[in-house]
């Protein structure tokens, strides 16, 4: 489990060769702590998620998720609130959020959709925004909009328990409980699906639960836990 002792030599590991501009490198310390090595560049992280750092670091709050005035207004309107800070400096910074598990993934020009509360840290070179998700309302009370991350670079997302990555292909569509949904990437369509019919012995309807159905080609990240949802439970 995440009890990690770091030998001092490893603390200032040089950034991997081959990068032209200084790029932050993300690595995991155990399953719940993200270590980011920065060399003068910046990363965007969830507000207040720093637990420790070595070297020199500056923390700056960014209004509206660092998306400028337009992003600020959009986020205010959509309710997809995101408190973000910019971390810039030289050294190693450790991030963690309420003992949740961290997954690091790399984007190569594609787009990741993630619940704002599950986005822990993203490379400074990535763009973030909000998008309309269609019918997936009610998931985690976050509403009809979700946060998107686009570009090339590394992203760290959090989940309650280690995330399970599930592949969706045209042959294998996937249904996910809204409370367990964390993020998805790729070319996916989502729809609302009612899963359970609680017909009783007397033949009355007794409430229904919903799932999100993903079809197309891509990856879906789910967590081994459920937030409370309006959609109901299975």
């Amino acid at each position: 489990m995440p009890r990690v002792r770091i030998p001092p030599a490893e603390l200032s590991s040089p950034p991997p060769a081959g990068y032209r501009r200084p790029v932050a490198t993300f690595r995991l310390q155990g399953s719940k702590v993200l270590a980011v090595d920065v060399t003068g560049d910046a990363v965007r992280a969830k507000n207040g998620s720093m637990v420790a750092y070595e070297g020199r670091m500056a923390f700056k709050k960014m209004s509206g998720g660092g998306e400028g005035l337009r992003g600020m207004v959009t986020r205010r309107l959509t309710g997809e609130q995101m408190e973000v800070m910019e971390v810039r400096g030289q050294g190693t910074c450790y991030f963690a959020d309420r003992a949740s598990d961290v997954t690091v993934l790399a984007l190569h020009g594609d787009k990741l959709c993630v619940e704002a509360s599950n986005l822990l840290c993203s490379d400074g070179g990535l763009r973030t925004g909000t998008t309309f998700t269609g019918l997936r309302g009610g998931a985690g009370g976050t509403g009809l909009f979700t946060t998107t991350v686009e570009g090339s670079g590394q992203v760290a997302i959090t989940s309650d328990g280690p995330a399970v990555v599930l592949r969706v292909t045209p042959r294998y569509p996937l249904s996910v409980d809204p409370g367990a949904y964390v993020a998805h990437q790729g070319d996916l369509r989502q729809s609302f699906q009612s899963g359970v019919t609680f017909r009783t012995l007397l033949g009355e309807g007794g409430g229904e639960a919903f799932q999100i159905r993903f079809e197309g080609d891509g990856l879906v990240y789910v967590q081994p836990s459920e937030r409370n949802t309006v959609g109901g439970d299975v």
């Binding site: 990555v165 409370g179 017909r199 012995l201 409430g207 229904e208 081994p224």
Partner: protein, 264 residues
């Protein structure tokens, strides 16, 4: 760095753990009993029906004997792979062979219909009898201990083959000098350990780290926020295992979740 493995229906295990916190059930036209709120995702053609549903009458008659918990359970049937998880707890499957095991009701995720489910005499616990597989969760890995042992009630996940546990009170503490001194001075306080469940005889006791800080939620509650009908209405925590058995059993015919959601 895509550290986590990507799964699809062909790589997911069959009736085994995906990781310590997620279990995959392989449905091949078979049925599983499933507690509501424990399924996180599925591939394939799976349908879920409430335990009260008429078509399942025969199945329920042979395998499900707990009206108190009927509202919390559904039957999954069809073919596909179904992922189960619970509050990011550790999840384990247990195989019973003509055996019996009693487990905290909130920690039971699913079981095969070849097992029969009954309410334990100890409130908040369910007993599984017969041959088959079931899936249960624990806060941290399960610790298996042999009797004789005294266990903090919150740390108890369940027990197998043991005679029912009895209450053990530390009477030396209750009536002793310390008790009097504490009442007089207010110094010291209770040790918090004057009551345990005691197990004796042959069997196995299953323990977890106590879950004092992770309160069980009643399945089906809606978030407490404006605009959500019935939001935050305290739903009696059925099956919380903390002696909250004052709640009325949800009878077949009641509207259940829908009723609560619209504040009826």
């Amino acid at each position: 760095m895509n550290a986590s493995a990507v799964h699809d229906p062909s790589t997911l295990p069959s009736d085994d753990n995906v990781n310590p916190y997620t279990f995959c059930v392989d449905l091949k036209g078979s049925r599983w009993f499933l507690q509501k709120g424990k399924m996180i995702a599925y591939y394939g053609d799976v349908s879920f029906q409430g335990v009260g549903h008429g078509a399942l009458d025969r199945l329920v008659r042979t395998s499900f004997h707990s009206p108190m918990h009927a509202g919390d359970w559904v039957v999954a049937e069809g073919s596909g792979k179904m992922l189960l998880a619970d509050r990011a707890f550790d999840v384990n499957s247990y195989d019973l062979d003509e055996g019996n095991l009693t487990v905290r009701s909130g920690n039971l995720l699913a079981f095969e219909p070849s097992l029969s489910l009954k309410q334990s005499i100890v409130p908040g616990f369910l007993t599984l009898i017969g041959t088959g597989t079931f899936v249960a969760a624990s806060n941290g890995p399960v610790v298996f201990m042999e009797p004789p042992i005294r266990v903090d009630p919150q740390a108890l996940v369940g027990w197998a083959d043991c005679p029912s546990p009895c209450h053990h009170y530390d009477h030396a503490y209750l009536s002793g000098v310390l008790g009097g001194l504490r009442a007089l001075t207010g110094i010291g306080g209770a040790s918090g350990e004057e009551h345990q469940f005691e197990f004796v005889g042959a069997g196995t006791v299953l323990l977890q780290s106590s879950e004092a800080l992770l309160p069980e939620r009643g399945t089906g509650t809606v978030p407490h926020e404006p605009g959500v009908p019935g939001g935050g209405a305290p739903h009696p925590g059925h099956g919380s295992g903390q002696g909250s058995h004052g709640s009325a059993p949800r009878l077949p015919g009641q509207l259940g979740d829908l009723q609560r959601r619209f504040g009826l």
